[in-house]
């Protein structure tokens, strides 16, 4: 074979010589959910922050309003605890997946 195949691929305990395409190489690794780390599920604007550091929250307590696609999304706590760090302030633009609030 003239074409080089630098990659290997393991399937059912067998190692195959092959090449990995760009999309496969760039695939996202799965990470377990972290309910105490509140991340932006969509990029947008922090319209309001309802909580302060140290404040006690329960699952379901509104934390902030994230405006995106002309919709004001209520972002609520997924887990109970105290507000640890707030990484955003009103008027901030956040990217998808950006960490906004940590619950401790």
């Amino acid at each position: 074979m003239s074409k080089k195949t630098p990659d290997t691929f393991l399937l059912d305990d067998t190692v195959y010589q092959t090449t990995l395409n760009r999309k496969f190489a760039a695939r996202k690794r799965w990470e377990p959910p972290e309910p105490r780390k509140v991340r932006a599920h969509i990029p947008g604007l922090i319209l309001r922050v309802h909580v302060a550091v140290g404040q006690k929250v329960e699952a379901g307590t509104p934390l902030l309003i994230l405006e995106a696609m002309k919709m004001q999304n209520d972002v609520r706590a997924q887990a109970g605890g105290a507000v640890g760090t707030i990484h955003v302030k009103e008027g901030d633009l956040v990217a998808k997946g950006q960490l906004m609030v940590e619950i401790v």
Partner: protein, 515 residues
């Protein structure tokens, strides 16, 4: 001057006035971007002198925002009929130099008229997209225009082949006409396709990306899978269109044109292409080239999901659709993308009376969280559905390994294949020998003084017993074990026998394909 001469002269002047009333700046800009003008594109695709233009004098009716004073020549789209290497087609080309090729109702109605024409005449419809999007001044009428095109794309699906060539921007709702058609052609640095452009993404979402990285030709051809043919110039693109048209029939009641049979070119020795060791890669396209007429293979979606190969070729002069696992990429596994790609191709072939040839060499479905979460179950189901649904002649050759669900999916006898052949080195099993031995002989291996040595023995034992085509042949799942060199003759003879195949299925409105 007699009466008719005068009328003729007036007509010529009127026609010229439409053809000449071009925006010189826009035309110049179009050329600077390496883009041809709409009419020149049509002439470049069609046989010389075959273009017959429709609706040159169509005018829009918009009375708002100063549009009543604007005369848009041809309303920004050129439509008509013509021939490609003698094959009749209907064609339209949006003209970016007229109001940015924007789509208003009159523009859309010119397109729907030529689409209706294509369905009535039973010929392919080719659309060249080069448009800034909806003509905003026309409001909902412009949206109506898009909707009427989508509706016709859907009704024409599976009746006449539909080809979309994206030679400029094709953004927002406009993308859905190409998406509903059978083949989408893109050209590097010219094609821009997206639902929302980089500007909107930046202002709304704060993400910065270039047009090329968001929806350029390469992305559409390699990552999104929206495109089927990628080229680096308009001339190369038109060559691809022309080649495609010769491989497919005019409509669903006809077969593709028969060409004079030719032998494969002989640059590949079919005995030498496939390594015996199932872990070693090779380019399955060489096997295709070694089997088909003139080694001429027109690949569809070459860059997307390259772990499966799809495309058209001819056997003894008759068009066949080839689906083949590609061990060179990702070991040839089935996954979300390759299932989508193959299923759509199979359905096209079935709709247009093109026999299917399937070449099998795969280790199974791709494992992984990303695959499971992306829905490899429902995507993988599409390939089962498409093969089972297809009533065209279906021939399958198991070149080497066919393991597990992959064996079933790749047009096995169980999904209604008419002919299943296996090469002598074929291994048909639930999984590869290593994995199988580790499960079946787990206890023996764990308890052995030297587990690795025991594993080797057991793997060999399993290989000896199951890694061959004869158990499948003994059960009638494989019709014949044939050698690589006799394969082409076998295929030609099966095709001769099967071309008149007609299979009735229970009447229904339509099946519900997994999505």
């Amino acid at each position: 001057m007699s009466g008719i001469d005068e009328k003729t002269q007036k007509h010529i002047e009127k026609k010229e006035s439409v053809l000449q009333s071009v925006d010189k700046k826009a035309v110049e800009k179009q050329s600077q971007m390496g883009k041809l003008q709409a009419r020149d594109r049509i002439h470049a695709i069609l046989d010389p002198g075959s273009f017959h233009e429709y609706d040159l004098f169509v005018e829009h009716r918009c009375q708002d925002f100063g549009m009543e004073k604007k005369l848009l020549p041809g309303d920004g789209v050129v439509t008509g009929t013509g021939k490609i290497q003698g094959h009749p087609v209907c064609i339209y080309a949006q003209d970016f130099t007229v109001a940015g090729g924007s789509l208003g109702l009159a523009h859309a109605r010119k397109i729907t008229k030529i689409m209706d024409h294509a369905v009535k005449l039973g010929v392919p419809i080719i659309g060249i997209n080069d448009s800034g999007g909806a003509r905003i001044q026309e409001g909902v009428n412009s949206l109506a225009g898009y909707g009427e095109i989508f509706y016709r794309n859907t009704l024409a699906s599976g009746v006449v082949p539909q080809i979309s060539i994206i030679l400029g921007p094709c953004a927002g709702g406009a993308v859905y006409s190409p998406a509903l058609t059978d083949f989408v052609f893109v050209v590097d640095k010219i094609t821009k396709m997206f639902i929302t452009g980089p500007e909107v993404i930046k202002t709304v979402l704060g993400e910065e990306i270039s047009m090329e990285d968001l929806g350029g030709a390469r992305i559409q051809a390699e990552i999104s899978g929206n495109a089927h043919f990628y080229s680096t110039s308009e001339a190369e693109c038109f060559e691809q269109v022309s080649r495609l048209v010769t491989f497919i029939p005019w409509n669903n009641r006809k077969r593709a044109d028969r060409f004079p049979p030719k032998l494969p070119k002989g640059q590949w020795d079919i005995n030498e292409i496939v390594p015996l060791d199932p872990r070693q890669p090779y380019d399955v396209r060489h096997v295709i080239q070694a089997l088909v007429d003139d080694s001429d293979f027109l690949e569809i979606q070459e860059h997307f999901a390259a772990n499966i190969v799809t495309g058209f070729a001819r056997l003894n002069g008759e068009t066949v659709g080839v689906v083949a696992n590609q061990p060179l990429v990702l070991a040839g596994v089935l996954d979300v993308d390759s299932s989508d790609k193959a299923a759509r191709f199979i359905r096209f072939c079935d709709a247009f009376n093109i026999p299917l040839l399937t070449l099998v060499d795969l280790p199974g479905y791709l494992p992984g969280v990303d695959q499971e979460h992306a829905g490899v179950i429902r995507h993988g189901a599409k390939i089962l559905y498409a093969y089972s649904e297809a009533t065209v002649p279906k021939a399958t050759i198991i070149l080497r390994k066919a393991y597990g669900g992959g064996y079933i999916a790749m047009c096995s006898r169980h999904l209604g294949a008419d002919f299943v052949f296996a090469w002598p080195q074929a291994e048909i099993a639930v999984m590869g020998p290593e994995g199988a031995a580790n499960i079946i002989f787990r206890k023996e291996i764990a308890e052995a003084a030297d587990p690795d040595a025991m594993r080797k023995i057991k793997v060999e034992e399993y290989k000896e017993k199951f890694a061959n085509p004869y158990i499948a042949a003994a059960n009638g799942h494989v019709d014949a074990v044939i050698t690589p060199v006799e394969t082409r003759d076998f295929l030609i003879r099966t095709l001769e026998v099967a071309l008149q195949k007609h299979e009735e299925r229970p009447a229904r409105k339509h099946g519900i394909q997994p999505n």
